[in-house]
């Protein structure tokens, strides 16, 4: 049996997906990028192979993607996360229907990708200037409010008053804005809800730049935050589709690219 690996080395975490020749997802694993992301990537891959009882010899093609893609020397090929994301989203959303628009929020950037009917990337927009509207922004907020980032979603739905917006686009200044709101006895729930809407508004602006087309797919770690999903849906006025494992779409896409490249090389 031949296996294909996609490794997505992001700013915050490493995501690895393993697929078979028929492009079925066999397994995936994530770990923090940390200070030695190359070593961690290698260890995570070894661990995943062990768990899945796959011999490293059976891995025939590896594709790396993400910010750290060029630093993973073992890869047979590396591709940009835009391409990988588009391929992964289309493949993992088969049950959902045609994907036309992708929203991806990563640790340090956010993207909106527009696809044509054949699934080719026709346009994309990125907000990579700072941490505004990214996963890092949510981390900063959660840290300030003394809760886990995974608790934010629940708090969102408990908001009672008007969501208290945070207008600072800078994560550092947003932190002091949150301190101000807390100091004035505003509820954590209303603050969290406001933060989600502030991020959602920024993301939707990005999406509008590439055009909002039905069939919207939202992935990246922050897609696990249902509060943020709710805010984005409200801002778009449309439902978005969230895959089962939104963190690994891009590495899954990289692995699929591996199959195609491998078969192309063979012929």
């Amino acid at each position: 049996m031949k296996y294909f690996v996609g490794i997505d080395i992001g700013s915050t975490s490493i995501k690895i997906s393993i697929i078979d020749e028929k492009k079925n997802l066999i397994g995936s694993k994530t770990s923090a990028s940390g200070s030695m992301f190359y070593k961690y990537a290698q260890e995570t891959l070894d661990l995943l192979l062990k768990e899945l009882e796959i011999s490293p010899k059976d891995v025939v093609y590896t594709v790396s993607t993400g910010y750290g893609r060029k630093l993973y020397k073992e890869a047979d090929e590396n591709i940009s996360e835009i391409t990988a994301n588009a391929i992964g989203a289309r493949a993992s959303a088969k049950e959902f229907g045609e994907i036309k628009t992708i929203i991806n929020i990563g640790g340090q950037d956010s993207k909106a990708i527009s696809l044509d009917n054949d699934g080719n990337v026709t346009n994309f927009a990125m907000n990579d200037r700072c941490a505004a509207g990214t996963g890092k922004f949510l981390d900063v907020v959660a840290l300030k409010l003394e809760m886990g980032v995974d608790e934010l979603g629940e708090k969102h739905f408990k908001a009672k008053g008007t969501p208290l917006g945070v207008s600072s686009t800078c994560a550092v200044f947003a932190e002091s804005e949150i301190i101000g709101l807390l100091g004035n006895n505003h509820s954590v729930e209303d603050i969290v809800c406001g933060v989600h809407y502030s991020i959602a508004k920024r993301i939707v602006k990005l999406v509008k730049r590439v055009g909002v087309k039905e069939g919207i797919y939202f992935d990246g770690g922050p897609a696990l935050n249902e509060g943020l999903v709710n805010a984005i849906e409200n801002e778009l006025g449309k439902r978005v589709f969230i895959p089962k494992f939104p963190q690994v779409t891009t590495s899954y896409g990289a692995a699929i690219m591996g199959v195609d490249s491998f078969l192309y090389d063979q012929n």
Binding site: G161, T162, P163, L164, S168, N234
Partner: protein, 425 residues
């Protein structure tokens, strides 16, 4: 992914209301929470704004609501005909974004957001018809755009020169026409008694404003400039009787606070006269930065506050047509809008305010795209320089992201005024 929480998607209307509520609550909370010695009677106004802009509460159900653009449409006539005036000038960035699709990109945010408000049609109190004085080009053209959304917009001829006898006659006729038109539309006849009563009521409301301003002339100040903008902005849409009651309460508390030595200014807080494009809720960007930087706005020359209340209707004959003429005179001659040419009156008014309120400096804000304020800043700056009055000119808009640079400029200006004060001492 299966959802753990129940969430429905908002309708476009709900979404827009949330956007506005988020903008509104932010400013209300800032005023409630971020300044020292808050005034209790201001809570009426905070709640009013929250009710109208966060909870979309209607205040005037069952009445004919007459929308007015600018301040040259006499409310006295509208009240006398048993209708309610609602000033349509808007301060919401969310509406500005909608309005940008209908007005030129270079037009001013106030006009864009007013048009945006009509484009969405989402009002707490929707006006039945609109009277638009032909003031600046942008407002005039906005009327045409608003009409295209299916509203009835009546232009009220307004001259660009106010010193001549011709324009005085012109506007007197214009006001008579307006009174006849509204009379037809309301089905009520304008009579001496009701007109006299409404002149008296508006005059009384103005007197309350002037009494509040008396407190701002003193060395120590009991009410902040931002709170005063809340009060005057509320006059745009509140029930007049409730507004009067609330101002009476505010006056009582001001007196009490003075007795208790509860002041909003610090020892050396520079006293500021604010002029230029009007702060209209919730766009209090510049006034808030001024007062957060330890400046105190003691007076203003804007159409959302002082210019609206400054002069009263002076009647010498109590017949309907005479009263109408007196109103026309007040709304034309006393107005210091920058659309006029020539406009020495505005400069005179600003200098007068600086002297009467012992101000240390002037902040002049012009909305980007507001040509008349942009054009007039030069002559105002020169005049202030001649008088030795420090002035800061700022260009801004409704976007929430201007923060840092704006704050630095205002802070530096306030600090320079403080240094002057220290040296003087």
């Amino acid at each position: 992914m299966t959802s753990k929480f129940k969430h429905d998607i908002e309708s476009p209307l709900q979404k827009q209301n949330r956007h506005k509520a988020m903008e509104a609550i932010r400013i209300i909370n800032t005023l409630k929470d971020d300044f020292k010695n808050p005034i209790e009677s201001m809570n009426y106004f905070y709640k009013l704004f929250e009710d109208v802009f966060c909870n979309q509460k209607s205040l005037h159900d069952g009445k004919l609501k007459v929308g007015t653009m600018c301040i040259q449409i006499p409310s006295e006539i509208i009240y006398a005909l048993d209708a309610v005036p609602i000033r349509l000038c808007n301060g919401f960035y969310s509406d500005d974004e909608i309005g940008s699709d209908y007005m030129p990109q270079k037009s001013c945010p106030l006009v864009r957001s007013t048009v945006g408000h009509f484009a969405s049609g989402n009002f707490s109190d929707k006006p039945h018809l609109i009277y638009s004085p032909t003031t600046c080009d942008q407002k005039t053209k906005a009327g045409v755009t608003i009409e295209s959304f299916g509203y009835e917009v009546v232009d009220v001829d307004f001259p660009r020169v106010k010193d001549s006898e011709i324009s005085r006659e012109y506007f007197r006729r214009s006001i008579r026409e307006f009174a006849i038109d509204l009379s037809k539309k309301t089905g009520n006849k304008l009579n001496k008694k009701s007109l006299k009563q409404s002149i008296a009521k508006i005059g009384y409301a103005q007197s309350l404003y002037h009494k509040l301003c008396e407190y701002r002339k003193k060395k120590n100040i009991v009410i902040s400039g931002n709170d005063m903008f809340f009060v005057t902005n509320a006059f745009f849409f509140d029930k007049i009787d409730s507004w009067i009651d609330a101002c009476e309460n505010l006056l009582k508390e001001c007196k009490q606070r003075e007795d208790e030595n509860l002041f909003v200014n610090g020892k050396i807080s520079p006293r500021i006269v604010y002029t230029g494009s009007p702060p209209i809720f919730p766009n209090y960007k510049v006034p808030i930065v001024i007062e957060e930087s330890d400046g105190i706005i003691v007076a203003d020359e804007t159409c959302s506050s002082n210019r609206m209340f400054n002069d009263r209707v002076a009647v010498d004959e109590w017949f309907v047509n005479d009263m109408l003429d007196s109103m026309a005179d007040k709304y034309l001659k006393a107005c210091t809008c920058p659309i006029f040419t020539k406009n020495d009156d505005r400069i005179r008014r600003i200098i007068d305010l600086v002297k009467t309120y012992s101000a240390d400096g002037v902040v002049y804000q012009s909305f980007a795209g507001c040509t008349v304020y942009e054009a007039e800043q030069r002559s105002v700056l020169e005049a202030m320089e001649k008088e030795g009055i420090p002035i800061l000119y700022i260009e801004s808009d409704y976007s929430p992201s201007q923060g840092g640079q704006l704050t630095t400029r205002v802070e530096a200006f306030i600090e320079s005024l403080k240094t002057r004060k220290r040296i003087k001492k």
